[in-house]
């Protein structure tokens, strides 16, 4: 780890919404290339970055659509920059094509989705958490991805930096799955001094140009990276490829290539995942939540505890890869999981899969447009505790 470049760090206390906090998080993380397309409720990120970047040596470009934006941030990363784009549902759908290219080329980059109601145009100005499965499975083919979900502007700042660090470490596009509520919620945020911000440097190849193989994995299964233009004259492609980056159309190469893309994440889930747990000891019911829903659940959990119920709280800061082991472990100890999410059942399916019938999984659905009534979450907890 190194520390942040002070040039981009706006140290001090600020009163910012989540969107603006993401912009500052990106600046602090060292992001210097941004390509995006305006879309509610994410546009404020692009606006702030367009104002801030020229002063810190960053380059902002507004592309013609999200297909181009996603492609451009991959190109920017190969050019050596830390890059990012921001979008919401409809744009997220368009970005799935090149998100897959980013996975295949192993490009460190960050993509933020400020979720709104869908499908289609849905509810542009109102919250949802309904792109969670798309985040995991939206691009075609087999792959693993990393996705985090912040619940406050402070976390938008902090976890944007975490997203950049994870993307560098695992060489994979990392998703910050926000929602309109968190994006437009304004709170105090504290930006630390640059020397207190830890930054994961790019996994730069340090050997000679003759020895470089762009897709030869290191011990951690992640290959070394170089910049376009530094003498390596490498080839990279979205086709299934060998260690040289050259296309090979065979089942063996597919197994090696795609197998490694999946394994480099899957084998290190416990190292990647960030969870927040509270009062798990002896809990009968565990509320599993993420993003804004974890804050909405707080009064329901407190009320249930005041009523004498034993309720634990498990907050998924990292939603993907899913913390399977922890849910499996808890399933043997608790009666029920309660999963409030602003969709009609997505992450609850993962909880249910891992619980495998050993504990009940109770979804508290919400179709989107607003957050849950905490009464609904409370009733679900009560049902689970019986």
């Amino acid at each position: 780890m190194i520390t942040a470049d002070p040039k981009g760090v706006l140290t001090g206390s600020h009163y910012l919404d989540g969107d603006h906090a993401v912009a500052e998080g990106a600046l602090a993380a060292g992001c210097r290339f941004f390509a995006g397309y305006p879309i509610t409720p994410s546009t404020e990120v692009a606006e702030r970055i367009s104002a801030r970047f020229p002063l810190v040596g960053g380059l902002f470009v507004q592309m013609e659509d999200e297909l181009a934006s996603m492609a451009a941030i991959l190109g920017g990363a190969w050019g050596g920059a830390k890059s990012m784009s921001v979008t919401s549902g409809p744009g997220f759908s368009l970005m799935m094509e090149n998100l897959g290219l980013g996975v295949m080329m192993e490009v460190p980059t960050v993509l933020v989705n400020v979720q709104r109601g869908g499908p289609s145009t849905g509810l542009p100005t109102l919250p949802a958490q309904a792109d969670m499965m798309q985040a995991r499975w939206g691009s075609h083919g087999d792959y693993e991805i990393i996705a985090l979900s912040p619940s406050s502007p402070q976390e938008c700042f902090d976890y944007t930096i975490t997203c950049f660090n994870l993307s560098e470490k695992y060489r994979v596009p990392v998703l910050l799955m926000m929602d309109e509520c968190v994006g437009h919620m304004t709170e105090k945020i504290v930006i630390p001094k640059a020397e207190e911000i830890e930054i994961e440097p790019r996994k730069w190849f340090k050997g000679s140009t003759e020895d470089y193989l762009p897709y030869k994995p290191d011990d951690d299964m992640v290959p070394w990276m170089v910049k376009v233009g530094d003498g390596f004259r490498f080839h990279t492609t979205g086709l299934t490829h060998d260690e040289r980056g050259y296309p090979v159309m065979s089942a063996e190469c597919q197994k090696d290539n795609v197998g490694r893309l999946v394994d480099k994440i899957r084998s290190r889930v416990d190292e990647i995942v960030i969870l927040e747990e509270e009062e798990m000891e002896g809990a009968d019911v565990v509320v599993v939540s993420y993003g804004i829903s974890s804050r909405v659940a707080i009064p329901a959990v407190e009320r249930a505890r005041a009523d004498g119920m034993k309720v634990g709280s498990l907050r998924l800061v990292t939603v993907w890869p899913f913390p399977e082991n922890r849910i499996r472990e808890l399933a043997g100890q608790v009666k029920a999981f309660v999963v409030p999410e602003i969709n009609l059942g997505q992450i609850c399916l993962e909880v249910e899969r891992c619980a495998a019938g050993r504990a009940e999984t109770i979804l508290v659905p919400h179709a989107g447009g607003w957050v849950h009534d905490d009464e609904d979450i409370y009733q679900a907890i009560r049902g689970g505790a019986k």
């Binding site: 801030r52 297909l67 492609a71 190109g75 920017g76 304004t186 004259r233 080839h235 296309p247």
Partner: protein, 301 residues
């Protein structure tokens, strides 16, 4: 000939096995060598050249050339190249695209790249068909010609690539053909030297698909068609519409001077950093939320 061998030895990737994936007689080899001759003539360090492509037969071109090569998704080569160039402006960035790649699935990126005027070169290899997928009609298949998805003749109308590029604001636009291989190389050289976004369309032959379905007996017949049905821009000036019917023009259509994107961006950054009004404006953006917070403090009413 020795010059050609020298170019091949210098610029083809030593570790990459030939032959290419292209059919024998395909025009793409001629376009690739025209590009290499152009780079050789300019004398750019090959470490400082990036060739980006999308999908299709032309999409495979970067694999064989000894530069920094990035083979991306269908139609997105230019958008990806935009990122590479903006992150490393000192590089010579070339996007190699086919007609379907550049003008159908990537059509939006193409026109916006023309408008944005980033210093890159787009080479559009136009063989008037989707070759790799087996001969479906493309946005440049002439009206009435056949494709496997236009078995009774194409009822749509073709794009004029260079007119589209001119209309979209490209600052250098040229066209040649694989029959005119030397001219093609010289035009690509001019395009790369041009400061701003440049487009070179090279009319090519897909005898395997287009030729087979449209009564061209051989690759040679297709090259002869290019010879007989193209006119240099100079000659075209003295010809009327009837004489030009069914023919394409060759040469430089547009060569204009407009501030390049990165240059404009740098100038803007310089202005923002030094102009007091601009500095104040940026401060306002940064402080607007904090100012709101101040107003919300109880002591400020």
């Amino acid at each position: 000939m020795s010059e050609a061998i020298e170019v091949a030895r210098t610029y083809l990737r030593p570790g990459k096995k030939l032959p290419t994936v292209w059919c024998g007689g395909c025009g793409l080899g001629i376009i690739m060598s025209a590009m290499l001759r152009a780079i050789a003539a300019i004398g750019v360090d090959k470490n400082k050249v990036a060739v980006v492509s999308g999908i299709g037969c032309t999409g495979r071109m970067p694999t064989y050339v000894d530069f920094n090569t990035l083979h991306t998704t269908h139609g997105r080569g230019l958008a990806f190249a935009t990122g590479v160039k903006l992150a490393r402006p000192e590089l010579t960035v070339i996007a190699a695209m086919g007609d379907g790649d550049a003008l159908a699935i990537g059509g939006n990126h193409f026109i916006h790249a023309c408008r944005r005027n980033i210093d890159m070169t787009a080479i559009v290899a136009n063989n008037q068909i989707y070759g790799m997928t087996g001969g479906q009609y493309s946005p440049t298949t002439p009206h009435g010609k056949r494709g496997t998805t236009a078995p009774y003749g194409n009822i749509e109308y073709a794009f004029d690539t260079t007119a589209l590029a001119v209309g979209a604001g490209a600052t250098f636009v040229a066209r040649s053909s694989v029959y005119h291989a030397r001219e093609a190389g010289l035009l690509i050289e001019k395009a790369i030297r041009h400061k701003g976004f440049s487009v070179v369309e090279i009319i090519s032959n897909c005898h395997t698909s287009y030729g087979r379905m449209n009564k061209f007996a051989s690759p040679v017949a297709m090259l002869e068609w290019m010879r007989d049905n193209s006119v240099s821009i100079k000659a075209a000036e003295h010809m009327d519409a009837d004489a030009l019917e069914g023919k394409f023009t060759r040469g430089v259509m547009v060569e204009s001077d407009k501030p390049e994107f990165i240059q404009s961006y740098d100038e803007m950054a310089e202005r923002v950093a030094t102009d007091p009004a601009a500095v104040a404006n940026v401060k306002k953006v940064i402080q607007s939320y904090d100012a709101m917070a101040d107003r919300l403090k109880p002591e400020n009413g």
